[in-house]
């Protein structure tokens, strides 16, 4: 039980960088909605982070990282952060706790994609508290807290299933329950501020270095590997999506930045297990299949408004599989499919399927219950006026 000052300093900084990703999501989404809901999207990101902060320090952390119960959930030993102190192995337990908190907060913020421009604030607070407790905490426990997925040997370096499959498929379920935005499909709902979305994307790209490299939980070679492959996957994803969109029509900057995020999502579970050349394949494929998922979504007339499903859900699913394909024992101690380890690939597939099914099903159930009890959606008139004025009494422009 010796603290390493280098590791501690590194993870402290990483935690702050991951926290910055939450308003990054807010800016990314805020630029994509209509101007009348700009403040709402940003506010929801901050609110998501604040809800999760209180939930995590009171009981969420314990559910995720408390002593394992039947492989499904953590025990209540750490409720109120009891026994979570300034000591620890390498880094203080408190620091590990708050690093993980930043992940949980970010995940809930990604879900706002599915309810953009139409969710009631009170409903989001209630839903968010239930969601982070019933979906995020179990998934975090399965992968990282000693749950069944970890026992099985499923690899998720920084949250491909826990953060991205959960939020992506959760956003899809949420969008199906709350329904389409008024006028969706009848008139254009173009992004009102694309530079803001690009700025949000830049903050995400920056924060992702901490998200993935920090998940090594030490300032070491593995962290450097994660850092490097993260950047490669983001760059490849950006170019792949851009190229695909260019072939079909215009190389829009929104597609480019979405591709970067898709690459970042896909490399997340793999960052500590694959090398730089595998990262090119992972990011490139992510850019193309996530673009395909977005086209599928729009062609089907689904209003999963800001494409968390296409980018985080589908990208996260690909990332989980890709980890099982490209993992190299020389990097993370485990071989994948290309090195003849079929078993690892099957474990990854099983883990991804279960996470997808659980996240979608449980989110759907929670959303239905909240909708029945207090109603998820604002009134027709509030939606027309926009949530900035209707709910917050504010306007992004004078």
């Amino acid at each position: 039980m010796v603290l390493d000052s280098g590791d501690t300093a590194f993870i402290l900084i990483c935690t702050a960088m991951v926290v910055l990703m939450t308003p990054g999501v807010g800016l990314f989404y805020g630029g994509l909605v209509r101007r009348k809901n700009f403040i709402s999207m940003l506010a929801l990101a901050f609110i998501a982070f604040s809800i999760v902060t209180l939930q995590w320090v009171t009981f969420g952390y314990s559910l995720a990282f408390g002593p394992d119960i039947a492989g499904l959930i953590g025990g209540l030993d750490y409720v109120g952060l009891a026994g979570v102190g300034m000591d620890g192995e390498g880094i203080p337990d408190l620091l590990f706790m708050v690093f993980q908190l930043a992940f949980a907060g970010l995940t809930l913020a990604i879900l706002t994609s599915g309810v953009a421009e139409r969710i009631k604030l009170s409903a989001f607070i209630v839903f968010g508290l239930l969601w982070t407790t019933l979906v995020y905490d179990p998934l975090a426990h399965w992968a990282w807290g000693g749950g069944w997925a970890a026992s099985l040997g499923a690899l998720d370096f920084a949250g491909g299933t826990v953060v991205h499959i959960s939020s992506g498929f959760g956003a899809l379920a949420l969008a199906l329950v709350i329904g389409k935005r008024a006028g969706f499909g009848q008139y254009s709902m173009e992004a009102h501020n694309i530079p803001m979305t690009l700025l949000g994307g830049a903050l995400l790209w920056f924060g992702w270095f901490a998200f993935n490299a920090g998940s090594a939980l030490a300032a070491d070679g593995l962290a450097a590997n994660a850092f490097v492959v993260t950047n490669i996957a983001a760059a490849t994803g950006a170019l792949a999506w851009l190229a695909a969109a260019w072939i079909k029509g215009t190389p829009a900057s929104i597609g480019m930045i979405s591709g970067a995020i898709a690459g970042l999502v896909a490399i997340t579970p793999a960052a500590g297990f694959v090398g730089p050349m595998a990262a090119i394949a992972i990011g490139g494929v992510a850019g193309i299949i996530c673009y395909g998922a977005l086209l599928f979504r729009t062609n089907r007339g689904l209003d999963e408004s800001l494409d968390a499903w296409a980018i985080h859900g589908v990208g996260g699913f690909w990332g989980a599989l890709a980890t099982g394909i490209f993992a190299a024992a020389a990097i993370g101690g485990v071989d994948g499919l290309i090195y003849g380890n079929v078993n690892q690939f099957l474990i990854q597939a099983l883990d991804a399927f279960v996470a997808m099914g659980y996240a979608f099903g449980m989110t759907y159930l929670i959303a239905k219950v909240v909708d029945k009890v207090i109603g998820l959606r604002v009134s027709e008139e509030e939606e027309y006026v926009g949530l900035d004025l209707a709910l917050h009494g504010e306007s992004a422009t004078t």
């Binding site: 101007r35 009348k36 008139y187 008139e381 006026v385 004025l389 209707a390």
Partner: protein, 108 residues
Amino acid sequence: MKMIIAYIRPERFDRVKEALVEKGFFALSVTEIRGRGAQKGITLRGGKVSIDLLPKLKLEIGVEDTFAESVVHIIREAAWTGKVGDGRIFVLPVDFSVRVRDENITTA
């Protein structure tokens, strides 16, 4: 000539534009504005929140006298939802207009 000034719902703009193009009216200027009509905007949650200036679009279209009525009709039909806040159309007389490029003058 007439200058047609129409205040419409922003979300109806695509329809209005398409309807005008369909009948051969291409020239058009658009401004994003905020405004209110006789109903003083929208009141929410039983009067607790009142929003009296809502985003609208202002269209300006200069046409020859003979087309004024049909343009008004096209805009009205495409902008109509039947609810409060559909907007208003004004028709103003114009002495003449000059095309900047070649000084082409239109009077009727």
